[in-house]
Amino acid sequence: MNKTELNRLTGIAREIRILIIKMLAEAGSGHPGGSLSIADILSYLYFKEMRIDPQNPEMQDRDRFLLSKGHAAPALYAALALRGFFPVEDLFSLRKIHSHLQGHPHHIDTPGVEASTGSLGQGLSMAGGMVIGCKLSQSEANIFSIIGDGEAQEGQIWEAAMTAGFRGLANLCVFLDYNDLQIDGRVSKIKDIYPVKEKWQAFRWHVLEIDGHNLEEIETAVDSFKSEKEKPTMVIARTTKGKGVSFMEDGVDWHGVAPNREEAEKALKELSNG
């Protein structure tokens, strides 16, 4: 990745984070921590990788992204708005009555949202289903998804993992947002998902480990996914919950609490200077 491209995508990730803070402050509720932790991955997928058309959200053969960890909806909405699926102003209606932006993504309501998610574990199965559906239509589209590390405690994740591995759904690329925090505390203390790499390998996945905030590593991982022709790809992305806002970083209390005005201003100042 050349420097110009890196700067562009870094700038977009920062823009996504700024919008996350602004819309959550406006909404008064929502999930900042897990939204901030996936901003870099979304910047890369939506602004560099995926074959999509905001003017034609239902374009045939498009690549698709499913946010299996649906509570990080603000990050997805920010990426979709910046990419042109709907006006950026819409973001400030998040979670309000009459808004098309529901607390968790809704496929019917929001342009660009490929599936409704929020009840954890289901998005990965739906993503696998989309790979199967596209293949049956002779489409080589790629399906991307992000699951949470807490979400990996759901049994359905492992049913879906077994299906994708066994069926060799090579057009499926999943990122694990591995920030080691869930609502009640550290993932490693509540129900540790370690060893992660070995688990997914045992389920017959092509497994990569990266720094989920490093755009060059994200690019390398996606390139590796595209050259893998037999297995689905799991990118274990080491991330920091609340990334980019010092007082939110690695803080469990910022899972599902929106910043107040003062906190939002402080966060925006940091992000603008960062």
Binding site: H106, H107, I108, E114, A115, S116, T117, G118, S119, G121, Q122, G123, L124, S125, M126, A127, G128, G129, M130, I132, G133, C134, L136, S137, S139, G155, Q156, E159, A160, M162, T163
Partner: protein, 309 residues
């Protein structure tokens, strides 16, 4: 009269409508031999997926496939298709308004010897409140075929509830299934018997016995439990003095509840709901279970006498 297999007809219908229609995809969860989806699977292997014993994954995968433009049928026993995966049905299928057809076999006490763990008596109650979901309970093989064809041709979620055993033939090949339209099998002036699935033949039997006592009973097959045929139900309630509902399902939340909800608010009518009284089933032959839990023509006759005496 000859008895016919509903699930057998389901498998044959799938093959007939899906063999050349590349849009149809069929999923099962290790019960393809019993649900008869294997009839399709053996011939159209490329569009048949046995998901193994992963019902949650099957339902959400079905939703995912359908979101790429396919019509997806997903089958297993009702207890696993609805009870085990209610959240997946609610969120992956209904909230997405996904084009997924859930066809459950082995509903209710009709399962027989496998016992309570496999006898789903609460599926209609679970599905009626879900937005976008349509609920159909065919009463014979012909109606099964028409319902499956209808679901395949019409977008959005459907649940088709089939029984394990064979049922008497009620409709000939001219029968037209219409969603939300109950079928009046026999008109009557004194009392109306509303029935679904395997209970339709019990209602017909009861009507014959009642006729000998000069009680003229209407028999109506309410195969679409949702959306309910309010016109036909209102018409029957107005024309007769009382109504009885009969279903191989809990008395809570099923056909009886649906009709009671409607009539109590629009045309209060003397009524008896016959079903399983909020208890688990048990092992036994289907016939013995229907006797044990009093889902019989004899019981219907008794209740009819009480209501109109």
């Amino acid at each position: 009269m000859a008895k016919e297999s509903l699930r057998g007809e389901y498998g044959k219908t799938l093959l007939r409508i899906g063999r050349d229609n590349k849009n149809i995809v069929v999923l099962d969860a290790d019960l393809a031999k019993s649900t008869k989806t294997l009839t399709f699977g053996k011939e159209v292997a490329e569009r048949f997926i046995d998901m193994g014993l992963s019902e949650q994954d099957m339902i959400s995968t079905a939703a995912g496939i359908s979101l790429t433009g396919k019509t997806v049928f997903a089958s297993t026993f009702c207890v696993f298709l609805i009870g085990r995966v209610y959240d997946q049905v609610r969120q992956s299928v209904c909230y997405n308004n996904a084009n997924v057809k859930l066809v459950g076999t082995h509903s209710g006490l009709g399962v027989g010897e496998d016992g309570a763990t496999h006898q789903m008596l609460e599926d209609i109650a679970l599905l009626r409140p879900l937005p976008n979901m349509r609920v159909i309970v065919p009463a014979d093989a012909t109606e099964t075929a028409r319902a499956v064809e209808y679901a395949a041709e019409n977008d959005g979620p459907f649940f088709i509830r089939l029984t394990r055993g064979n049922l008497e033939k009620i409709y000939d090949s001219n029968y037209k299934f219409e969603l939300g339209r109950a079928s009046v099998i026999k008109p009557g002036r004194d009392i109306t018997l509303f029935a679904i699935g395997a209970m339709v033949e019990k209602a017909l039997e009861a009507a014959k016995v009642l006729a000998q006592e000069s009680i003229d009973a209407a028999v109506i097959n309410v195969s679409t439990v949702k959306p309910l045929d309010k016109d036909t139900i209102m018409d029957a309630a107005r024309k007769t003095r009382a109504v009885i509902t009969i279903e191989d399902h809990s008395v809570y939340g099923g056909l009886g509840s649906a009709i009671a909800e409607f009539l109590s608010q629009n045309h209060p009518t003397k009524m008896k709901i016959i079903g399983v009284e909020g208890v688990f089933g048990r092992s036994g032959s289907a016939a013995d279970l229907y006797s044990h839990f009093k889902l019989t023509a004899h019981r219907v006759v008794d209740e009819a006498r009480k209501l109109i005496s």
